[in-house]
């Protein structure tokens, strides 16, 4: 469909002009379209509409036809698939797999771009190129996730045995031993952090949603909770240490110090997630309760919290998942030990992430054709950690979905 030059609008003489017809736009005689249109003295803005009666034809636009030669439908997936197969066939010749993938992606994108450009034109070629780039980016981002998961499972199963869950490292030199003391330590410290964080976090969220109503304190609080979420975990550890130096003296290492550090990291996560969950509770419920003469606090305790209980549970789960793998603050507040310590108020305590770290840093000596025993223990600790974290994440999301208040949308 070609666009012929815009014919001058006829403006038939029979038409009764509702407004004084004015000859406007004298084809940009004086210096192009930016040339000032002459002012009509005595006719200011009183008359809003001008009728186009100019005679110059409109500049012709490049035509965009309705029909177009398109690439076949299968082009989008067949091209990358073909090159991937080609890349796989080339693997036995000794090319590094790390090289094949980017080459396949770049060649596929280039091929489809050039093919599309020759058949469909530049606009579609660009569209397809962007599609290729965006899809490749997603696939590339999946590589670390798959690689991490595979590596951890592959190397972590070596010591994933009963001994690892039942023995500590007390008196162990070389192979053997386990992470029992680290697992109990992680559970104790995480539980303590929850005891500190959950009341503060939930109450703060309740304040923000139920009482704050966008007043100054709540706006500052929201802002600083967000800022707090960005505190580096090592700084949280330093803070807890600096705080307890004033209580217990220099060189302090105790479970409670680590729990305080984790709380600094956990509270903002908890507040933000809980605020979202409380906001979902329909306002009608609150108003219905208040209208019955129920005091505010009972409305919150009997209506709002029960309604969003699932969401709150999900928030807590996700917040625990966020902190249970933290290493840096525990490394400097708890240190590491070889034996089991159940008392968070005295002495060092082992935790899983720190255990993984120290086992990796001092892996011991390889013997009998086996690798250094510390590496195996480190990977098994990592495997257990990642299992806990993934399970908590999926559980949290599941709870949030199952218990979401039914809003009649």
């Amino acid at each position: 469909m070609t666009s012929p030059p815009n014919p001058p609008p006829p403006n038939p003489p029979s038409a009764q002009p509702r407004y004084p017809v004015r000859v406007d736009l004298p084809a940009h005689a004086n210096g192009g379209p930016n040339g000032d249109t002459p002012d009509y003295p005595g006719d200011p803005i009183s008359e809003p509409y001008a009728t186009l009666t100019a005679v110059a034809p409109a500049p012709e636009l490049p035509s965009v036809p309705m029909t177009a030669e398109r690439l076949p439908r299968w082009a989008g997936w067949a091209v990358p698939l073909g090159f991937t197969l080609g890349g796989l066939l080339a693997l036995p010749s000794g090319i590094s797999p790390g090289l094949v993938l980017p080459v396949v992606m770049i060649v596929s994108a280039a091929f489809i771009y050039l093919w599309s450009r020759s058949v469909e034109g530049a606009r579609y070629a660009l569209d397809r190129l962007v599609t290729a780039i965006v899809t490749s980016a997603f696939l590339i981002a999946m590589i670390p996730l798959v690689s991490v998961t595979w590596t951890v499972v592959d190397r972590g199963t070596g010591r994933f045995d009963w001994d690892f869950f039942s023995e500590s490292m007390r008196g162990i030199v070389g192979a053997g031993g386990g992470g029992y003391h680290a697992i109990t330590g992680t559970l104790i410290v995480t539980a303590l952090a929850c005891v500190i964080s959950i009341p503060i976090g939930l109450l703060c969220a309740i304040y923000l949603v139920e009482y704050g109503k966008d007043n100054r304190l709540s706006r500052w609080l929201t802002f600083f909770v967000d800022v707090m979420a960005g505190i580096p975990s090592i700084v949280a550890g330093l803070f807890a240490y600096a705080l307890f130096v004033h209580i217990s003296g220099p060189g302090v290492r105790m479970g409670i110090v680590g729990a305080v550090a984790l709380s600094v990291l956990m509270i903002p996560v908890l507040v933000r997630a809980t605020v979202e969950m409380l906001k979902i509770v329909p306002n009608e419920l609150r108003e219905a309760s208040l209208a019955l003469g129920v005091p505010t606090w009972r409305t919150i305790a009997k209506i709002v919290i029960p309604t969003s209980l699932g969401g709150i549970a999900a928030s807590v789960t996700l917040a625990v998942a966020r902190i249970i793998g933290e290493t840096a603050p525990l490394l400097i507040t708890l240190g590491i030990t070889t034996g089991t310590n159940f008392n968070p108020f005295s002495e060092r305590m082992a935790t899983l992430p720190v255990f993984a770290y120290t086992q990796n840093q001092t892996p011991g000596i390889a013997r009998n054709g086996m690798g250094p025993p510390g590496f195996d223990r480190a990977w098994t600790a990592a495997l257990i950690l990642i299992m806990i974290v993934m399970a908590l994440n999926l559980l949290g999301r599941l709870i949030a979905r199952l218990f979401a208040p039914k809003t009649g949308r």
């Binding site: 606009r123 569209d127 997603f138 503060i200 967000d226 960005g230 505010t296 480190a378 950690l385």
Partner: protein
């Protein structure tokens, strides 16, 4: 609209009474507890700055001979701060374009039914503990990076970043940058995805109705609409990368240098990793010096995060008004 129907004027409203509304004890306790919790959080945040400063003070005033480098605190922290910023910058340079592309893929390219699952997969990247990334970086990524480093030195060696000699172990700033990029990718993706999703359907349809292809529609409406959100997401990612400790501590082989060379075994350390590595064996003023470096890190991340949050909040008000 009151109509005068000749009724006598209504009695003037009663003067505001001095009496207070009835406050039930339950309400008072509940309100007090929740306000208290909020204020506690503000106190904790102030406490972080205060206690770090108190414990950093001995190092600031200490005699130069007591410091870890026996010179001055500034000379001690400066290379670390440099390394911190360098590693985080590489991470953002790698992660931000990737994150934008991934966010677009999830919001505008992936089949709608898959989009949720794909988003979850990206979120799980964020859930992997940093210690695991550290182990992965040193055992998997670092060995694979050696060939890349050699290639970079051979072909791009004229750039100061790839000056070499390339490290044989792969414990380089480049690998740290890549590991950090993987770790902050979900952060930037999540924010970008959110703003891209908010682009009004009306505007997207307007672009399509003008005869735009999908990419042209995205360039006309989605990208301009999401720009500030993407910027603040990238800054949040930067803040995360600046403070990341364990992955760097495990992967990076450090020396007391300031160098832009990304592929050699002589790298500047980072503040966070240096604390993790040295803290367990330090005592006396050395601990205070480490805390002083932590204070510097705190200040840097606080500034970055506050700017990012300010951008997001301003944007929220803007979009809320429409």
């Amino acid at each position: 609209m009151s109509v005068d129907v000749g009724l006598p004027p209504a009695p003037p409203p009663a003067p505001p009474k001095a009496q207070k509304a009835v406050v039930r004890p339950g309400d008072r306790i509940f309100f007090g507890a929740s306000v208290g919790a909020g204020i506690t959080i503000l106190i904790v945040l102030a406490g972080v700055a205060l206690f770090l400063f108190i414990e950093a003070w001995p190092a600031i005033t200490a005699d130069s001979s007591e410091l870890p480098n026996q010179e001055s605190l500034v000379k001690y922290i400066a290379p670390l701060a440099f390394g911190t910023v360098l590693g985080a910058t590489i991470a953002v340079i790698i992660a931000a374009p990737m994150a934008i592309a991934i966010a677009l893929y999830i919001t505008h390219y992936a089949p709608p039914r898959l989009a949720g699952v794909l988003g979850l997969a990206i979120d799980l990247l964020a859930a992997v503990p940093s210690i695991v990334y550290g182990l992965w970086g040193i055992f998997v990524l670092a060995p694979h990076s050696v060939a890349l480093s050699r290639w970079l030195e051979g072909n791009l060696g004229f750039l100061p970043f790839f000056d070499g000699p390339p490290s044989a172990t792969g414990r380089t700033m480049l690998v740290v940058g890549i590991v950090l990029a993987v770790m902050i990718l979900p952060v930037i993706t999540a924010v970008s995805r959110e703003v891209f999703k908010q682009t009004p359907q009306l505007h997207q349809e307007a672009a399509l109705a003008l005869g735009a292809t999908r990419w042209e529609m995205i360039r006309m409406t989605v990208l301009p609409f999401g720009r500030s959100g993407v910027i603040s997401g990238a800054m949040l990612g930067l803040g995360r990368a600046l403070g990341e400790t364990m992955a760097v501590a495990i992967v990076l082989s450090t020396a007391d240098v300031v160098s832009f060379d990304l592929i050699s075994s002589q790298n500047s350390g980072t503040i966070a990793a240096n604390i993790a590595l040295d803290f367990p064996e330090s005592s006396g003023v050395k601990v205070n010096a480490l805390i002083a470096s932590g204070l510097v890190l705190f200040a840097i991340t606080l500034a970055v995060n506050m700017v990012a949050r300010a951008i997001i909040n301003r944007r929220r008000e803007f979009s809320g008004a429409n």
